[in-house]
Amino acid sequence: MTELNLNKKEKKVLTALQDGIPITENPYQQIAESIGMETNELLNIVKDLTKQGKVRRFGASINHYKAGKKYNAMIVWDVPNYDVDRIGRKMTEYEEVSHCYERPRRKDWNYNLFTMVHGESEGETQEIAKKISKDLNLHEYELIYSTREFKKTGVKLPKQKTKQK
């Protein structure tokens, strides 16, 4: 198995933090104690990981279904190959677009650009798609809604075993 780009202590800290800090006045102290580390050392490791770019941010993961953004459309676009890069960059300018990736076409799958759009109604996400389609002259696209969430945990550090149970 390929190694993670983390030293032992960094891995220990991230593993201890990945399910979230306890909501108390001294949350980091509690985590540090649980892994036999001084609070200051843990805080410094997190700050350093952030500086290195290995931690993108520290913060709350919001359940946007609960918070009112109930309609999450994955909009998949068929973009001319030569123009993917320019269009991909353009997509980032829309506030409503939270994610944008280029992915390969496959047999039976002819879309190569993926954007995530969140709205408070289905109509709102459709309007956003129409606007982008018009602005960027992209007419082959589809809105695919999530109808059920089976898992959303954030990326976890791998353990030795593959399965959780």
């Binding site: 949350p27 952030t50 941010r57 913060g59 990736y101 898992k151 149970k165």
Partner: protein
Amino acid sequence: MLERLQSDFPVIEKPFHKIASDLDIEPQEVVSRVKHLKNQGYIRRIAPIIDSREIGLTGTLVAMKVPENRIEEVAETVNQYIEVSHNYQRNHEYNLWYTLSTTSRQKIDQIIDEISRETGIDEIIELPSLQMYKIGVSFSFTDK
């Protein structure tokens, strides 16, 4: 409060005290409100968001065509893997979409194969990201 908690959560000994002073509320009040938001399910967790590439993980997106009456059972098989971080049913003929991330391409292929063998489903497309243009997760909330 949700907006304040999403980004830049303080990495200091007493983070909720800092938020309290920013918002001009008592620290105990912040702790109890955040606890409430978490218990109610508005907040999933307060944690570091890792950059999977930077720490050496490889990821991909997988879509499967699952017969409607087997969707829960197949989703459960998929969810057993700690390498799966997202798993959604979507309204498309490819109706189950999950993301995988682990330390090697080989491991990814192995897991996709295992899931396929275990569920007997072979209509699968695998769509690794070739280029990432935006990955933003902050939402703004209007008062309602």
